[in-house]
């Protein structure tokens, strides 16, 4: 409960000086022992946050670098795959052409008229005659 008003409730008295002294003691204790520690903690947390932000930025840069490197590796792999596929196509075309050539040769070999067969044919008696 408060002190109900009497005539001088708005006039400070000697208690004010003691109150001021009490507050100054609190201020001294807080300034001397509490705030430096609190500020040091805040500074340390800020430093940690800055460090972690720096590390995150570095990690982001590294991730970008690795991504770029992965893209480069992929491009290289695609180029090599293209070359291998092209070579495979060339090899296929060569094999097809070679097979056709050999087939044609065999065909020609089988279908050509041999000289001894021609001689045999001409030596045969004509049965009908």
């Amino acid at each position: 409960m408060i002190d109900l008003p009497n005539g001088d409730f708005l006039l400070p008295n000697a208690t004010t000086l003691v109150e001021a002294a009490v507050f100054l003691i609190v201020l001294f204790v807080i300034a001397k022992w509490v705030m430096p520690r609190l500020q040091a903690t805040l500074d340390e947390r800020r430093r940690r946050i800055d460090d972690q932000l720096g590390a995150a930025a570095e990690a982001a840069k590294a991730a970008a670098r690795y991504e770029e490197r992965a893209e480069e590796v992929l491009r290289q792999a695609r180029r090599e795959a293209r070359v291998i596929i092209d070579r495979a196509y060339e090899h296929r075309d060569y094999l097809v052409a070679e097979g056709m050539r050999k087939g044609r040769e065999e065909y020609e070999w089988f279908t050509r008229t041999r000289p001894d067969e021609e001689r045999a044919d001409s030596a045969l008696p004509v049965a009908s005659t």
Partner: protein, 217 residues
């Protein structure tokens, strides 16, 4: 001497010192407890509001933080269950003491930062405005003290009137509602006092020092 007031002020001071030392003992940069977070929030708020030369910023922040918690403890003291003590801030002696201390600190810091000539020039030039500036400076502690005292005193009067005008069972509900409001108001008044303190420092102390400060806190 008002011994009830002195006892209540002493208890408030002890509570603030104990809380501060607890914060100091348990302070951690990685896992702060709620009490530490509350103190850090007040300190951060005061630091972000203070616009004085860096050499004096710690003094401003420390004063604002101490005032805030001291006034909160004083405002909340009668709200403790069964507390027979009045809120010391509902007595003009404490609010005048706080306001006078703040104004003395503000002017002491301004004098240190500006030097004697700069300090006098700050308040007395231009000459035709000097009376207004001096009146302004004289009114500051009065308004600072009376605002806090008036609000807390009126709040105490409301509680007293509720007890007198209403029968005990009926008065319980408005009394409980008013107590909740007083919890909130205790923090708001402490915030206003600390905020005005920072603003008075901002008005008195330059943001840049023209010379090396005499002393640092």
């Amino acid at each position: 001497m008002n011994f009830d007031l002195l006892l209540a002020t002493g208890i408030s001071a002890a509570v603030v010192i104990a809380a501060g030392l607890l914060v100091r003992a348990t302070a951690s940069a990685t896992s702060p407890n709620p009490l530490q977070l509350a103190w850090e929030a007040v300190a951060d708020g005061a630091r972000s509001l203070s616009d004085v030369a860096p050499a004096y910023r710690d003094r401003v922040v420390t004063t604002a933080v101490t005032l805030f918690w001291f006034i909160v403890a004083a405002n909340w003291l009668p709200l403790l269950p069964g507390s027979p003590l009045p809120a010391p801030t509902a007595n003009i002696n404490l609010t005048v003491a706080l306001a006078a201390t703040v104004i003395v600190l503000v002017h002491m810091t301004a004098w240190q930062a500006r030097g004697t000539r700069g300090y006098l020039r700050h308040y007395l030039s231009p000459v035709w405005l000097a009376p207004v500036r001096l009146l302004d400076e004289a009114i500051k502690p009065v308004t600072l003290a009376l605002r806090l005292f008036g609000v807390l005193f009126a709040s105490g009067l409301v509680v007293a009137m509720l007890g007198v005008l209403l029968p005990a069972p009926v008065a319980l509900i408005p009394h409980a509602a008013w107590t909740l409001f007083e919890l909130f108001m205790g923090v708001v008044q402490a915030f206003i006092f600390a905020l005005l303190t920072v603003l008075y420092f901002n008005a008195a102390v330059p943001t840049q020092l023209a010379r090396t400060p005499d002393r640092r806190t």
